[in-house]
């Protein structure tokens, strides 16, 4: 009888712990990420209010100046490099420099070894699917042709989604962009899939189609 009672108690504690973890994952991390994003947005919007630092970019030469520098983030936080907007799935987040889990606790992160926004080559960005504000929770609902915008102090870069793919975590070649695309300026977004696990990675590819200079 005593054994049954203790077994029951253990299961009650385990169940309560699992419920508490759901609260942590969905609410706790979202609260922290929300505060981080607010702090980043303050510094980023200040940078947007200043006049552009570079020559006005064009479609032919989207990023004419190599002087693109990340915007210094808030105290203790990573630098901000752009704001990503995906209107079709309601994404509007500040992208930070770096993709360590500490960086991603602040928002979607830019793979440091890839191109900077508007730069020639591929810019790659990773974001959480669940937890930490879940910036890319609906990334699987993005359809070819839908727009992805990257706002920077120099310009807004508009990308059109081309394809998506699910790969294993060791398939780093996907960071090179859509192999079926001939575009010179590409974007790769990565996140976890299926939702609530990190078993595989969902990859979304897009090509640069328009540059809207900031005046």
């Amino acid at each position: 009888m005593r054994v049954i009672r203790w077994t029951g108690n253990v299961f009650i504690v385990l169940g309560a712990t699992m419920l508490f973890f759901v609260v942590y994952e969905l609410l706790g991390t979202a609260l922290v990420a929300g505060h981080h994003q607010d702090a980043l947005a303050d510094t980023f919007d200040d940078a947007l209010d200043r006049p552009p630092r570079v020559v006005v970019p064009t479609v032919e030469s989207p990023r004419p100046s190599p002087s693109h520098k990340p915007i210094a983030g808030p105290r203790g936080g990573p630098d901000a490099i752009a704001r990503i907007r995906i209107p079709s799935i309601g994404v509007r987040k500040i992208v930070v420099e770096g993709v360590t889990l500490d960086d991603l606790a602040w928002g979607p992160g830019h793979y440091k070894f890839t191109a900077s926004p508007g730069g020639e080559g591929v810019i790659a960005i990773a974001g959480h699917r669940t937890g930490w504000g879940s910036p890319f929770i609906d990334l699987d609902q993005l359809r070819p042709g839908q727009r992805i915008f990257l706002d920077t102090p120099e310009a807004t870069y508009a990308y059109a989604m081309t394809r998506s793919k699910v790969v294993d975590p060791d398939q780093t070649r996907v960071l090179l962009g859509d192999p079926q695309s001939d575009a010179t300026h590409k974007l790769t977004l990565t996140t976890c899939t299926p939702k609530y696990t990190s078993l595989r990675r969902l990859i979304v590819w897009a090509d640069l189609i328009e540059v809207i200079p900031r005046t």
Partner: protein
């Protein structure tokens, strides 16, 4: 003295009853210890265990 008067006198002489306590003192100590253990358990989970589970099993979006 009538019987009625004697009864009244007897009632007055009785000591006033104390209001009932919600919990006896010894039980309060047990409740506080129980609360401290639960809060400590939740704090350890929130600060150490859950972040580890999150990083290891739930969230690794980068390649």
């Amino acid at each position: 003295m009538t019987t009625k008067q004697a009864r009244r006198r007897g009632r007055r002489a009785r000591p006033a009853r104390k209001p009932p306590r919600f919990l006896p003192r010894a039980r309060w100590v047990r409740v506080l210890i129980y609360l401290a253990v639960v809060l400590g358990y939740m704090a350890v989970m929130w600060l150490y265990v859950f972040p580890w589970v999150d990083r290891t099993f739930v969230n690794r979006p980068a390649l």
